[in-house]
């Protein structure tokens, strides 16, 4: 297993992700670090996000426009996301009920399910 240096760029990126738990694009992260005077190259942002995603501490989502966005997210329990269209805040949604629904489909369509993705969008109760 390879080493894992604690560098300034990594610290800055992880701190930012911790402070704002919504899906952010590499460019957004890069810009915000720039504002905070934490010079980090865009390439490093991409490399760090990829690493965190592989480690499993970051969830990646491709938005409607095809841009990949990232958010810190503990994957312990399988869950889905409700994303506020206004503020981008993300609500975790457990999926017990959904899993049952999925099994029913499996029976019905002879489809051997090995995955499902689901996402809700709307307006959260803060933005309402």
């Amino acid at each position: 297993m390879r080493a894992d240096y604690a560098t300034r760029p990594r610290g800055a990126i992880e701190r930012l992700l911790e402070s704002d738990r919504r899906y952010l694009s590499a460019t957004q992260i890069h810009t915000r670090l720039d504002v905070e005077q934490a010079r980090v190259s865009l390439a490093t942002v991409y490399r760090t996000l990829e690493r965190l995603h592989t480690k499993g501490t970051v969830s990646a989502r491709v938005d409607e426009r095809g841009e990949t966005t990232y958010m810190l997210c503990e994957p312990e329990h399988h869950h889905h996301h409700a994303i506020c269209r206004i503020c981008g805040r993300v609500e975790d949604v457990p999926c017990r009920a959904l899993d049952e629904f999925a099994s029913a489909l499996q029976q019905r369509y002879g489809f051997e399910l090995d995955g499902h993705a689901m996402e809700f969008s709307g307006v959260c109760n803060t933005c309402r």
Copy 2:
């Protein structure tokens, strides 16, 4: 309302979409038309897909890699897709149960839902 000419490129693209109902990328479509000797520029493929998508006869989906893919799809009844990981065949899945589930969440999280996306992946009964 603007006209809508029946041109050779459009015919070729629509015919291809009708003959293969799975999600295809613009490049895949372009390549296959090329093989069939139906010279159509990639730009036209994009423009035609966009037009069909706007008209509502084509469903667009951004895959994990961020590439947009298209498939002919009647949107009459709201439904979801089960996509075979092996052959790419798409099964329509009605979503009555799901809508109920969604409403429940709305109550629970104070989230005013205005949309949800869901997709199943696995292996269809032909590929099994």
